[in-house]
Symmetry: C2
Subunit: 204 residues, 2 copies
DNA sequence: TGTACATCAGTGAACGCGCGTTCACTGATGTAC
DNA sequence: TGTACATCAGTGAACGCGCGTTCACTGATGTAC
């Protein structure tokens, strides 16, 4: 038999999924509690058994979505390939993850400048955290003693390009993927090569 | 005396300005015709004398905002400084324009992934156009015979960084500006140096 | 310059609709003895 | 194992509100003669 808390968890899950789906066209701002309830198959007031408000639901989705993002980074890291392969591998993993988890990546991209101040700020805070983590990863690469401030600048640039690329992947047809892959690889290469040369130039 | 059409133009202007203001927190998706009318000081139904719908109003704002953006580029171009100064000058002009025209730049940044499909698509189309223009500008720099495809890839990367930087400027306090300037300069430098070295490397 | 008519930006009442939120409730699941 | 009571996810009616849109209108501005 399914316990009461199991059932509740299942409904909660259904609410989160419904919200991810309904949000795709209109953003969280265009999502109503009643739409969600209807989609899930509960009465509007039952929503409150799970979340205090649409904003709280949004925050839960932010958490979930960034878990997705971190899982992706772990995937890149565990391959731990050579510096030469890291570009190809990173881009492949990005494309793969975005395709496999459109809903979460789309949610993040949208709500980054969405209509709810609370959710928007949460997304931005998570991206800052994410940037700092990436800069730690970069520090482990052989980039002769960069300052952490400079690593963060590079990290900020890379994360920005990653978001732009994710958006391209989300809007693209399958047949456009090779081109997007090529572009993303070229850009990542430019950034890394640029950072290396810019830095060595400055130090001489 | 103010003519009838002058008066109409003035009201239209007031609607556009009210929309830009009200949109700042909630995005276009959170904007209602009645809010705009109230802000302007007309009755809701009078709105229809100027726009068919909020979406049409949004499209007008997209046009306006990208005029702003193009004015900025013209400003960069007319200085036509050396390759060495172009980075500093570009960043200075960007910061200056974004600060002077927060409303338009914020509108573009927001509605790029906003809740209205029509407006969103219009913004994206404009950005693609803008990228192509920038790639033509880049072709005039001494970047030994790049293919236009590669210039577009670089252009796409630069525009992405420009949007990210604009968003930083919009959210920043005045005292954080020097750091943002520094970051933007470093990043633009990385991209240009990277592009040059990556390319020459590939050609050998 | 004066008159008669046309235009049209803005008015105001009215509509039906979906919204978030309140409240008292039901009945199945869980717990204490 | 059986009984009595507590918990609580989901129900259903009701509310007041702001929304976009319709319609017939007003009265100042503009135009033709």
């Amino acid at each position: 038999m399914e316990s009461r808390s199991d059932k509740k968890e299942r409904t909660r899950r259904a609410i989160l999924d419904a919200a991810l789906g309904l949000t795709e066209d209109t953003g969280l701002a265009g999502l109503s509690l009643r739409q969600v309830a209807k989609e899930v198959g509960i009465v509007p007031t039952a929503f409150y058994r799970h979340f205090d408000s649409i904003d709280q639901l949004g925050l839960a989705l932010v958490e979930e979505s960034f878990s997705s993002l971190r899982a992706m980074i772990r995937d890149v890291r565990q391959g731990s390939p050579s510096l030469g392969q890291i570009v190809d591998r990173s881009v492949d993993v990005l494309v793969e993850h975005v395709r496999a988890d459109r809903a979460h990546f789309g949610f993040i991209a949208r709500e980054q400048s969405g209509g709810s101040a609370v959710v928007r700020d949460a997304v931005r805070r998570q991206f800052e955290l994410f940037e700092r983590e990436l800069s730690l990863d970069l520090a482990r690469l052989p980039m002769d003693h960069w300052s952490s401030a400079d690593l963060q600048i590079l990290s900020n640039l890379i994360v920005g390009a990653m978001i732009t690329t994710s958006e391209s992947i989300l809007h693209a047809e399958a047949r456009d993927l090779p081109e997007i892959r090529h572009r993303a690889r070229s850009q990542l290469m430019m950034m890394i090569v640029g950072a290396l040369n810019w830095k060595s130039r400055e130090q001489t």
